[in-house]
Symmetry: C2
Subunit: 409 residues, 2 copies
């Protein structure tokens, strides 16, 4: 007997037919003793349709964040009711539970809520009754009982957290790709599906641009030590297991994947005095505005005048906010100029194995050099190495690095 | 300072523009100290759209009644969020509450729930904060916290019951007519709007076919002694007040209205033995099948053989079920035949005043006779007199009776 949480996203339940297909598939796969908890998102475009309604009233409806949650929480409530009906129409006992009914307790940060506790007794009771329990992802209730949505990636987080609270055997995340690949298959035709990857590697891949899983849910999996099984909604391929350690001898590759991020902007604050506290004045101002700063390089511009350049990268989405702050700070610091470079991209390699394998960085730089790709900035973590390059070189860079570390058999 | 509950139905909030108009109107009418609780239904066709989705999965989705409630409860949740946003966009503090959050406790009879208790503390708290409180009608939660909808006329019932629990000064029901009329204005061009009508008269009018208010909510108003103010969504006309007693000297008319019901079917079980228990065998079988029987006449067919005819009326919608039962019972009783007459209608006069005014019945029959309308069956209650006539005579009958009791000034 296994207790399995299975999460299906909005595109997997985007129509009545797709909902019926999900129900059929689950019943085909289910072993007689399995206990199944489904976590589902709103159907296809429902959330966008609801937002469009709200925008009819106010161009910035998120100003009314509590009311947005009241509105958006209906999306998953519709899909859980319909999926439950689909199970029952196939003769399977099933029951739907909203996030609040499933015991998902959140803080009161509307539209970006965080799970603070899960009291899943009702879910356990309904499983005991022989039901497949269909839970609304992406939502919970705060201390007042008001609906709160979890923000981006919230349904994955709901699923993994619920799996943790239920002490489930695994949490399966069904998605439109069939697992975690060694690189984005749309860019690297030879990308390979990984059978296993560790939480830390997956987190690093996500941080560095891989879109399969939101970091939040992987962190939740790590916290509860729940294996997360990334699977395809549309095929029966085995997918990728994210867990604490490898169970298989899949150590052929010292790196686990090549990640990339095309939405990066490089900023440079040129000619600031190289005195203590300068880095702090720049980066604390950005932090206050919730702008995350990535690869940082400080280089000496003029050693006699003790003047330095600060170079770093941010997510391109943050550029307008960052620009405003930097112009102000640069003025205060008497900086020479603020430069913005938008045609850059970051390519990275990730792998827990590289810690014990010297020379990995050299192989990466060598592959880029042979492909004629110039490296602008380099940064490293314990389990990753990232290079900032020109956007135009991104495809070439990914292909070269992938060929170096994942040679064709 | 007054605490007023205002209920708007689905057609009043059927689009973003209509929702905005409702918000504007409420703020225009609101006195600075007024405390306002809005009770709203789902937007326009939302409920039908949701039912259509469910029918995509099962042609009879009401088999999954709990899941239908889960599905349908989202309709009002969308409209309360949007109406609240509309208030806030106009600068008015407002907050939405689902039925469960407003403390509407129901039994667990899904899709036809009944309110068993109201714990409106949250509503009172939010009013104290200066909010207009926008509550989802038609819904509550059972002891498990599961959503339960209240069935037909449920939003009116929610509004009146909540007004009762809040000890509100009045409950205003906004609808597409501007009050209760002395007859259906579509049939009787001289119909007059009543300034006041008692709960009992309104209940009798509703029972006898007047469609303005569901009897359930009028009963709730009577129970809590909350004045129900029937008003138009689209005009500022004063409407009709439903309350326990008249406050004005509006005693010009001994009857309050002419009601009619075109969806009536007359049934006759001919030639049954006139022995004790016969009526019971026929009517208990119908009652078990939830067929309500109205005007009943027992007449002697053959006094020597002690054989009788049972004649009565039912709602036309119940005919298929009633027919099946009567064929079986008639067979068991050795009845001669079961006759069905569908081209009949019922016209009635209602008025608490008729108790103390003899001759009212004679005036009604006289008006019908002068108009050449033949009366088939007559029945009376304390505050009403009803006549069964041919459907073809209905318009003529209503006009004649109305002219008798409400002469043109």
């Amino acid at each position: 007997m296994a207790l399995i949480v299975k999460k299906f996203g909005g595109s997997s339940v985007g129509s009545i037919e797709k909902i019926q297909n999900v129900a059929k598939r689950i019943l085909n796969e289910k072993k007689p003793d399995d206990q199944i908890v489904m976590v589902v998102s709103a159907m296809g475009d429902t959330t966008d349709d609801l937002i469009a309604l709200a925008k009819g009233i106010d161009s910035d409806p998120y100003r009314y964040d509590r009311e947005m949650d009241m509105l958006l929480a209906t999306g998953e409530q519709v899909s859980i009711a319909l999926l439950t009906m689909a199970f029952r129409a196939l003769g399977q006992k099933a029951i739907s539970l909203t996030g609040p009914l499933a015991g998902m307790k959140t803080n009161s940060v509307h539209t970006k809520g965080k799970i603070v506790d899960i009291q899943p007794q009702r879910v356990l009771d309904e499983l005991k009754e022989g039901n497949i329990v269909v839970v609304a992802g992406f939502q919970g209730a705060d201390a007042l009982g008001d609906p709160v949505t979890l923000g981006r990636g919230g349904s994955d987080t709901s699923a993994v957290a619920l799996a943790g609270a239920l002490k489930a055997d695994s949490c399966e995340i069904f998605t439109d790709v069939d697992g975690v690949y060694s690189a984005d298959p749309r860019i690297e035709p030879d990308a390979r599906r990984m059978k296993e990857i560790t939480y830390d590697e997956m987190l690093e891949m996500a941080r560095l641009g891989a879109g399969v899983m939101q970091p939040r849910s992987v962190e939740m999996g790590k916290h509860f030590n729940i294996p997360i099984h990334v699977r395809s909604t549309f095929t029966n391929k085995p997918g990728t297991m994210i867990r604490g350690e490898y169970t298989m001898e899949e150590k052929d590759f010292v790196i686990r994947g090549v990640a990339h991020d095309a939405k990066v902007t490089k900023l440079a604050v040129l000619g600031v005095p190289n005195t203590p506290g300068i880095a702090h004045s720049i980066f604390s101002a950005l932090a206050e505005a919730h702008v995350d700063v990535d690869m940082i390089v400080q280089s000496i511009r003029n050693i006699e005048k003790n003047i330095t350049d600060m170079v770093f990268t941010i997510a391109s989405d943050d550029l307008p906010r960052a620009r405003e702050i930097l112009d102000r700070v640069a003025n205060e610091l008497n900086a020479v100029a603020v430069l913005v470079e938008e045609d850059v991209a970051k390519v990275s390699i990730v792998g827990a194995g590289m810690l014990g394998s010297p020379g990995i960085a050299a192989r990466m730089f060598g592959a880029l050099g042979s492909a004629g790709v110039n490296i602008d900035v380099i940064s490293t973590s314990e389990i990753s190495i990232s290079c900032l390059i020109k956007s135009a070189d991104m495809q070439k860079a990914i292909n070269a690095i992938h060929a170096e570390f994942f040679p064709k058999k």
